[in-house]
Amino acid sequence: MDRIDIFPTDTWGDFRLRPGKPMPFGATIVPGGVNFSVYSTGAYSCELVLFKKHEPKPHAIIPFPDKYRIGHVFAMIVFDLDYEEYEYAYRMDGPFEPSSGHRFDKTKFLMDPYAAMIGERDVWGTEPDWSNQYQHRARIVQDDFDWEGDSPKEIPMEELLIYEMHVRGFTRHESSGLKYPGTYAAIREKIPYLKKLGVNCLELMPIHEFDEFENCRKTADGRRLLNYWGYSNVGFFAPKAGYAATGKYGMQVDELKTMIKDLHKNGIEVILDVVFNHTAEGNENGPYISYKGIDNKTYYILTPDGHYYNFSGCGNTLNCNHPVVRNMILDCLRYWVVEYHVDGFRFDLAAILGRDQSGAPMHNPPLLETLAFDPILGKCKLIAEAWDAGGLYQVGSFPSWDRWAEWNGKYRDDVRKFLKGDPGMTGAISQRVAGSPDLYHWGGRGTRATINFITCHDGFTLMDMVSYNQKHNEANGENNNDGGNDNQSWNCGCEGDTTDPEILRLRHKQIKNAVTLLLVSQGVPMILSGDEFGNTQFGNNNAYCQDCEISWLDWTMLKKNKDLFEYFQKMIAFRRNHSALRSSRHFQYRDYLGSGYPDISWHGVKAWQPDFSEGSRLFAFMLCGKHARQGQEPDNMIYVAMNMHWEMHGFELPKLPAGLSWHAAVNTDMASPYDIWKPGTEPRLDNGEVLVGPRSIMILIGK
């Protein structure tokens, strides 16, 4: 028997209509038709505009009758709509009173804030027709993907090894050897590589629809600069079509889902970098795309006289703690988890998500609390970039409810300083390797709170960190004024490219030191893609606009720097083989299991005597294997000696229980393949001391 509510009650021209369901917002396929629902607190009236695909002019404009509005929601079912054929927009009429926050303009075509697919920018880098009045076009998505039983993976946080990646840059270089480089499909083809490396989580830089032509410009030598990174949202719910090989067929949703399904099949999670701090509409001079014309006052934080606050550094600031916007963000994240099976999110400039509607930081921001306790997001990862461009820096103090993790910027800075031999860093390093208890132990936050990283998309690559003292951003056309100056980098004796074998050897060693330190630290390690084979951006530490060899991974480096790849691979395996390195809780600095050793202990050139003085560049720590995972998963004893001095030093080894002896597992001072030993082949050390070479790290295991 047919449901009674699938019959139309009204007509408009050839279209048959019925009052819609206000929930859910967006365009939803319902029996017999499509339900369109959009809200605006300030609009007098609203029209649904239907375009035939690719047509510049509307095919039909259907006003929402007054009786189709409930509260602030306009909702309408259009029957017999061939949704594959259409793109849609809204037009809204309302007051244009910037001083009171309203900017309605009934001539503008406005994209649905809940658009699940956005068309007309289907192929990356194709110059749009700027005369088109409706640039980013909402399309209707069918939910017919076959997930074959897949669901989010729910890997425990402490087991993660995150690999940060730009979808296009990962495979766009011709050296990737793939048929459709720079796409979701290409990532799928690189899954065997990712498995070989050993990572189990991809963190994708923004993949929501953005406009690579936003603020595009040409340099003096005629090169076109794009918004390559994509930290500027056009639509929060729609995947970027230009990253799909099948975008020109309108199949980006399926291609992305297929990629995620296959990654999951291979034990790899997917975290999305989401940008809720601002949108691509900019300030009062920016374009109307969606929110500005639908509900400007609701979506953006405005000054009392109606101008845009700019805590994001990008012209506007999303009004994240307005209840309506809060719900949109929640709906959006739930959508990605439910529809795309994503495993978590990294929130760009997340401190903005904790600001109130006037821009002031809040003590218990309701948005962050809502996300922390949301049932659907209950097991997905929530990672904050715990600062914003308005000067709010919350590393270690981001509101968490023990659910939010943070990009630990202090980890990056301290480790970089220590690696280049700065004095006075051993105290800080003892905190960083222990999971930064100085930042996260309060309130019961465990080591899951800290995302440890040394490099990320923003800043030098690891190879550049050991090859440049200064940034070299001339290609960005901003007179080298853009990008950070506090890189804590060291070029090892020559700025940039060199053939000096001693300098090259030292650079490789420093890279190995960096990844070693990262992977023996408690917390969640994150690697920047390409660092495992020494990828360079030629000293550019802010390649946001470079859609070229500067940003694209050069896969020929994989062969050239084979020693680095193999070291990364083996060091990742070492971490996976040793439960003592992956605790979810902080150390207690005591022997609570009766093993005779504290769970962690500090050492120096003398066992049990760390040197935290200003002049010290040496530091060692020992993990008691019996305390690994609070005794739940016993491991070997692990001793890590770090010498960031430019001279060799002897380290007296702590005595092991009777029957155990120390074995050398890692020595970054040795050339490949003697820098890291296969499990079971580690050479035994019989004297009570090891010599750790200049700027080197040794790892011993007691077994």
Partner: protein
Amino acid sequence: MAENFTVDFKGGVAKITLSGRLDTTKAPALTEELKKMIGQPVSRIVFFAKDLEYIASSGLRAIVFAKQKIGKDTKVYLIGAHDEIKDVIKMTGFDNFLITQDTYEDATNS
């Protein structure tokens, strides 16, 4: 408007020959043809695609529809499609249910 497909449905096997562009102008008619098979015993749907030049999302959706609505035991074949179309099928994960072959051996006649 002349359709750029032909349908030959007998003995539980639907043979559909596609040509030209299967896009939003053609796919709805194809979907209508496929809808006629709902409720009937259909063991195979065979799309002959040698002369298919282009397939848009609407065309692919019509094929998905065939798989999902006509019968869970119905096998769906795509025969002789050129490389670009085969790539689209693969990249979107449709190769999980579509049997893609260069040539078709007619089991019903053997």
